[in-house]
C-alpha cells in the first residue's frame, strides 16, 4: 500500500526525532517482552497510521515459529548500530557514554544522531560503491571523484531514485554529474556487462544466463528480458573528445536481435524495454534528420531520440515494483544480515520473499517517503526485530531458520568495517582526527569561517571527516586484499582463511597500530591506576562492552601475576587477543 508518511505513533503522539513518546513506549515494551509488544500493537492496530517499524514487527512476528529472543543489551546495541550506520565501532567515550546513560530514549536518540552524522554518509558511500562497482579498478573516472559524489549525495539526503537516475543518465555533459558516469564508463561501456549488472543491481535479477537462451533454471528470466535491457545501450559508446575527456555518446541507429542457441528459430528483435514492461513506441525520423548534432570526426553525436536516456525514468517509475523491492531488500539485508529475498539478485517466483507482505510494504512505503534512505534506515533500526539479541535464552539459535528473525543474525564485518574498527580500537583514528582538527584550528582564517554559523559549522565537521578519510583510507589496503573478494564480482560471503590469521598473528600492521603511542589504547591503558581499570578500558574500547566478572577476574589475575616490567607487554597481549577474537570479527 502506498501510504502517506505516518506521523503518529501507536499512542497517537506526534513523534519528533530524538525526543518524546515513542521512546517511552519502546522502553515500556522492552520490559514487557516480545509477546506484549505484539499484543499492544495488535490492540491498537490502526494500520494506516502506525509507524512503519511497528508494522514491520507485526509482520515478522506473524511468521515466527517460536518465541523470539529478548532485546540486545546496550553494549550489543551500540556496537551494532554504529557498525551498521557508520561502518565502524564506537569510540571508548561514545560507548561508555551510551552504556552508562540512564536516558530511556537513548537508543532512538543515538539512531538519529548517527543518521545525521557525516559518518553515515560515508558508510552509505562505501556500501553502495561496493555494491555498484565491486572494487573494479579505476579506469575512466577517478575513484576519489566518484566517492565524493556518492558521499555528498547521501549527506544531502538525495532521494535514492534520483541518485539512480543520475547514475543511469549521466553522459558527461553536466560537469557536476561527470562522476556519475562511472557505472558505465568503468565497465568499459561493455554492453553485456552493463546489462547484466543493471539487472542484478537495480532490478534484483541476475539475467546473465538469459543471454544465450531463456534461463534454463529460472522460468521468469527470459532472453527477451536480457536483450530488452541491452537495447537501452546498444547505440551507446564511450566518446573521447579532443581534450581527452570522456563522454557517453549515442547514435540514432542500431537494432538488437537475438535468438536462442537452443532453438532453431528466426532471430527476434526488441526495442529497449524493461522485463515485461510496456512495448515502447520509438519515434521515426527521415533520413538526415535523426540528429541534433550529427556524428563527425571528433564530434559527439546527439540524436533527437536516445534509447539510453529512457532507462533512468522508466526504471525508477512508479510502475516498476521490482526497482523498489530490490533496493529495500538490499537495505534490509544490510541491517538484518539476510535479504527477505535471498540471494538478493535472484528475485523470481520460485524464490519468493520470506515475508512477502513485508517486502511489498517496505517497497511501497519507501516510494511514499520519496525514497528517503535515512528515513527507511531509521524505521528499520527502530524495530524490535532489529534490536533483538543474537543469542537466545532457551533455544539453540542454530536450530532456528535465519529468516525467522527470532534472533538477530550474526553479520561478518566487511573488510572496510573491520579495518576501520581496528583503527578505531587501537586509537589510530583518534590520533588522525586530532591531527586534522589541529590543522583546521591552526588555520585561523578557516577556523573563523567555519565557526561563524551553524551551517558552516556543519560543513566544517564534514570537511574534517573528508580530510580524515582521505588520510586514513589507504591504510585499509591489506584488509581489503585479505578479507575482500576478487574485483568485479559481488562480495563473497564470509571467508575465513589462514592468511587472515597470519596477518593478525605476524603482520606488522596491526602490531604497529597497537604499539603504545600518544594517547592510543595501550598508552591510555598503561596510564590507568590499576589492573581492573586497565582491563575495563581495553574491553570497552575493543569489544564495546565491559568484561563480566569471570572475564575481569581472569584478566586481572593474569596481569597481576606478571612482573611490573611486563605490564605493557601483557596489556598488548590482551588487546591483541580481543582484536583477533571472533567476537570482534562479527557484528552480533
Amino acid at each position: 500500500m502506498i501510504g502517506r508518511h505516518p506521523h503518529k505513533n501507536v499512542l497517537g503522539l506526534r513523534w519528533q526525532p530524538a525526543f518524546g513518546g515513542r521512546a517511552a513506549v519502546l522502553s515500556a515494551l522492552r520490559l514487557a517482552g516480545t509477546f506484549c509488544l505484539i499484543a499492544t500493537l495488535a490492540a491498537t492496530a490502526s494500520a494506516n497510521t502506525e509507524a512503519l517499524h511497528a508494522r514491520i514487527d507485526q509482520l515478522v512476528a506473524a511468521r515466527m515459529p517460536t518465541e523470539a529472543a529478548p532485546p540486545a543489551t546496550d553494549s550489543e546495541f551500540v556496537r551494532r548500530i554504529y557498525l551498521d550506520l557508520t561502518g565502524c565501532i564506537p569510540s571508548t567515550a561514545e560507548a561508555r557514554a551510551f552504556i552508562d546513560s540512564a536516558d530511556s530514549g537513548k537508543r532512538t536518540a543515538l539512531i538519529d544522531r548517527l543518521l545525521a552524522s557525516p559518518q553515515y554518509a560515508r558508510r552509505m558511500q562505501v556500501f553502495f560503491d561496493l555494491m555498484w562497482m565491486e572494487r573494479r579498478p579505476e579506469t575512466n573516472v577517478p575513484n576519489a571523484e566518484w566517492a565524493e559524489y556518492l558521499r555528498a549525495s547521501f549527506a544531502a539526503g538525495k532521494p535514492y531514485d534520483q541518485l539512480v537516475r543520475e547514475i543511469l543518465s549521466a553522459d558527461g555533459t553536466d560537469p557536476a554529474l561527470r562522476p556519475a558516469m562511472k557505472f558505465y564508463l568503468d565497465r568499459g561501456g561493455d554492453q553485456n556487462l552493463v546489462t547484466r549488472d543493471i539487472g542484478r543491481l537495480f532490478l534484483g535479477r541476475d539475467l546473465q544466463c538469459a543471454q544465450c537462451h531463456d534461463h534454463p533454471l529460472i522460468d521468469d528470466y527470459k532472453q527477451e528480458h536480457y536483450y530488452g535491457l541491452l537495447a537501452y545501450f546498444n547505440r551507446s559508446s564511450i566518446f573521447t573528445d579532443k581534450a581527452n575527456q570522456k563522454f557517453i555518446a549515442d547514435k540514432a541507429d542500431g537494432e538488437v536481435t537475438f535468438k536462442s542457441v537452443f532453438l532453431d528459430e528466426q532471430p527476434r528483435s526488441t526495442p529497449p524495454r524493461l522485463p515485461d514492461g510496456p512495448m515502447p513506441e520509438e519515434p521515426k525520423f527521415n533520413a538526415g534528420e535523426e540528429y541534433v548534432v550529427a556524428p563527425a570526426d571528433g564530434v559527439r553525436p546527439v540524436p533527437k531520440y536516445s534509447r539510453r536516456s529512457k532507462l533512468a525514468p522508466e526504471l525508477t517509475s512508479a510502475e516498476r515494483r521490482d526497482f523498489r523491492r530490490n533496493v529495500v531488500n538490499r537495505l534490509w539485508a544490510m541491517m538484518f544480515g539476510r535479504g527477505l529475498v535471498d540471494p538478493v539478485d535472484l528475485h523470481h517466483s520460485e524464490n519468493p520473499p520470506s515475508h512477502p507482505e513485508l517486502l511489498d510494504l517496505l517497497a511501497d512505503e519507501f516510494a511514499g517517503a520519496s525514497f528517503d534512505v535515512r528515513w527507511l534506515l531509521r524505521e528499520l533500526a527502530l524495530t524490535v526485530t532489529y534490536q533483538r539479541a543474537s543469542d537466545h535464552p532457551s533455544i539453540d539459535p542454530n536450530q532456528l531458520p535465519p529468516q525467522s528473525y527470532c534472533v538477530a543474525l550474526l553479520k561478518p564485518l566487511s573488510p572496510e568495517q573491520l579495518g576501520w574498527s581496528v583503527l578505531e580500537a587501537t586509537g589510530v583514528s583518534a590520533s588522525y582526527r586530532a591531527g586534522v582538527q589541529a590543522e583546521i584550528d591552526g588555520d585561523t582564517k578557516l577556523a573563523h569561517i567555519l565557526a561563524s554559523d551553524e551551517a558552516r559549522q556543519r560543513r566544517g565537521i564534514e570537511f574534517a571527516e573528508r580530510r580524515f578519510f582521505e588520510r586514513l583510507a589507504p591504510s585499509l589496503g591489506e584488509f581489503i586484499n585479505l578479507f575482500g573478494g576478487p574485483p568485479g564480482s559481488p562480495a563473497p560471503g564470509f571467508q575465513a582463511t589462514v592468511h587472515q590469521a597470519l596477518f593478525f598473528d605476524n603482520g606488522g600492521t596491526v602490531r604497529s597500530w597497537l604499539a603504545p603511542s600518544g594517547s592510543n589504547l595501550l598508552a591510555r591503558a598503561a596510564a590507568l591506576p590499576d589492573s581492573s581499570a586497565q582491563v575495563e578500558e581495553i574491553y570497552l574500547t575493543v569489544l564495546t562492552r565491559r568484561p563480566d566478572i569471570e572475564e575481569r577476574t581472569l584478566a586481572v589475575d593474569a596481569l597481576n601475576a606478571r612482573p611490573a616490567a611486563e605490564r605493557p607487554a601483557a596489556l598488548e597481549e590482551l588487546a591483541w587477543a580481543l582484536v583477533a577474537s571472533a567476537e570482534f570479527r562479527l557484528n552480533h
Binding site: L410, L482, A496, T497
Partner: protein, 434 residues
C-alpha cells in the same frame, strides 16, 4: 563432538560428512593411518588401496595456452606443422616435438590425451573448464580440482593447506573463489614466486612466550563468545588461527633451499626449476594437491621463439620432476596432470604466432590410476580437428577423480542442494583408467 551448527550452512554439511567418515579412525597425520573423511566418496575397490597410501595430485599448468603442435602432438612437414620437427620417445611409435628431448625419455611414465576439445577459446573460461570440469555458469560456482582434492583426499587435521599453487612472480595470497561451496579452508594458497606464504614468521618482537600467552587469551575470549553464539562462521574463523600456528611450525617445508644443491642443478637454475623442486618437496611431505604454473605460453606473436624458450625451461625441470617422483616411490600414489586453458591454432598467423584453440589439443597424464606409455585419441594429419576419441573437460575431470580412487559420481550436500562432484552429464574416460 556434538554438532550444534545451523544445519543448513555449507560448512556444516561438509563438515558433518567428514565427521561421519572419521568415526573410529585415528587422527594421526602422515603416519600412514588413513583418517580420511572419505566415507561415502570412496570406490569400494579403492578403499583398501587408500588405506595404505594417501593419494595426491600434481598439476603442471602451462598458462596462456601451450601449443600442442610444439609439444605433445607435432605435425612436421605439414602446412600447420611449423619449423620444429618430431623426435621419438621412450615409447615406440610415439613422437613429440624436438623441443622436449628430456621429456621424451620419460614418455613411458606418461600418457598423452590428444583429442581434447573444450569448444572454448577464452582464457578465463578455458581455465575454468580445465580446473573445474564445468562450463562456466554464473549462478553456480564449482570448486577447482585442487579444492576437491584438498577436501576429499587430505588427512583429517592436516595442518598444511591442501591446495598449494606455486606461481612465477606475483604476490602470495589466496584465491578464495577456487573452493566455491567447499569453503575457504580448501581454497588455494598461492606461493607467489615460490616464496613461503606471507606472514609465516613470528616477528622478533613477539617472543614465543608472548605468543602463547596471547593465543591462550584469544581462545578464552572465543570460548566465552561461543557459549552465547556459535556458528559455522565462528568455528571457521577461530580455526584459521590453529591452522596458522600449524603452518608456521612447518614453515621450512616451503623453503626449497633446504633441498640438496645437486638437486637444484638438475632441475635448472631458473624459477620453474626451483618451483618443480619445491613441488617435489611439498608432495613428499604430504601436501595433497600441488599446482605449479609456468608462464607464459600465449604466443600470438613469434610462437616458435617463445616456445623454444619456455619449453627449454620446462623440459629439463619437468622431466627431472617426473623421474624423481618415480625414483622416490611417489609415482604410484600421485596423479600427474599437465594442462593449459587451451591449445593453439594449427594456422600460423602473420606474426609467426598461433592463436587460441580449444578444439583439438592435448593434455598429458601420468602417475597413479591411469594407463601409461601411450597416446589416447588422435587429431587429423595437420591437427585441425580431432579424428579419434574426442574428450572434453568434464570427462577429464571425472577421470582425474577416479584415478585417485574417488567416486566421481558422488555429490556434495550444500545447504540441502546436492551438488555433484563432477558434471553428471559425463563420465570418466574408462579406457584411460588403469
Amino acid at each position: 563432538m556434538k554438532c550444534t551448527y545451523a544445519c543448513q550452512t555449507a560448512e556444516h554439511l561438509v563438515a558433518r560428512r567428514r565427521f561421519l567418515g572419521l568415526a573410529g579412525a585415528s587422527a594421526m597425520a602422515g603416519a600412514g593411518v588413513l583418517a580420511s573423511p572419505l566415507g561415502a566418496f570412496v570406490r569400494p575397490a579403492a578403499a583398501a588401496e587408500l588405506q595404505s597410501k594417501q593419494k595426491r595430485i600434481l598439476m603442471v599448468y602451462l598458462a596462456g595456452g601451450l601449443s600442442q603442435l610444439e609439444s605433445w602432438d607435432p605435425k612436421p612437414g605439414t602446412d600447420t606443422g611449423g619449423p620444429f620437427r618430431a623426435i621419438p620417445t621412450s615409447v615406440p611409435g610415439i613422437h613429440i616435438s624436438e623441443l622436449l628431448p628430456q621429456t621424451a625419455r620419460q614418455m613411458h611414465r606418461l600418457t598423452i590425451v590428444r583429442g581434447v576439445n573444450i569448444n572454448e577459446n577464452d582464457h578465463g573460461r578455458g581455465s575454468y573448464i580445465m580446473h573445474t570440469g564445468r562450463v562456466p555458469d554464473p549462478s553456480n560456482e564449482y570448486p577447482h580440482l585442487g579444492s576437491v582434492a584438498a577436501r576429499c583426499l587430505s588427512v583429517e587435521n592436516d595442518p598444511l593447506p591442501g591446495y598449494i599453487h606455486i606461481t612465477p612472480g606475483g604476490g602470495g595470497g589466496l584465491s578464495s573463489s577456487d573452493a566455491a561451496f567447499l569453503g575457504p579452508r580448501y581454497a588455494s594458497v598461492t606461493l607467489g614466486g615460490g616464496q613461503p606464504p606471507q606472514n609465516t614468521v613470528r616477528p622478533d618482537a613477539v617472543t614465543e612466550a608472548a605468543d602463547l600467552s596471547r593465543q591462550a587469551m584469544r581462545r578464552r575470549v572465543n570460548d566465552h563468545f561461543a557459549r552465547r553464539r556459535r556458528t559455522a562462521e565462528t568455528e571457521a574463523y577461530t580455526q584459521t588461527y590453529d591452522q596458522a600456528a600449524e603452518l608456521m611450525k612447518r614453515r621450512e617445508l616451503f623453503d626449497v633451499t633446504k633441498e640438496p644443491a645437486t638437486d637444484a642443478e638438475r632441475y635448472g637454475s631458473h624459477d620453474f626449476g626451483r618451483h618443480c623442486l619445491l613441488a617435489r618437496r611439498l608432495l613428499e611431505n604430504g601436501v595433497t594437491f600441488v599446482k605449479v604454473s609456468h608462464s607464459n605460453y600465449d604466443t600470438h606473436n613469434e610462437n616458435f621463439d617463445f616456445h623454444l624458450e619456455q619449453l627449454g625451461e620446462f623440459d629439463q625441470a619437468f622431466s627431472t620432476l617426473v623421474a624423481d617422483l618415480a625414483d622416490r616411490g611417489l609415482w604410484d600414489s600421485t596423479l600427474l596432470v599437465v594442462n593449459s586453458e587451451f591449445g593453439r591454432t594449427p594456422g600460423i598467423n602473420q606474426y609467426c604466432g598461433r592463436d587460441h584453440w580449444g578444439t583439438a589439443w592435448s593434455v598429458v597424464l601420468g602417475g597413479t590410476g591411469v594407463k601409461l606409455g601411450g597416446a589416447y585419441g588422435a587429431t587429423n594429419h595437420n591437427g585441425t580437428e580431432v579424428k579419434d576419441r574426442q574428450v572434453n573437460g568434464a570427462q577429464l575431470f571425472h577421470t582425474y577423480l577416479q584415478a585417485v580412487g574417488l567416486d566421481s559420481t558422488e555429490t556434495f550436500d550444500v545447504s540441502g542442494r546436492p551438488l555433484p562432484m563432477a558434471d553428471p552429464a559425463f563420465g570418466p574416460i574408462k579406457e584411460l583408467l588403469a
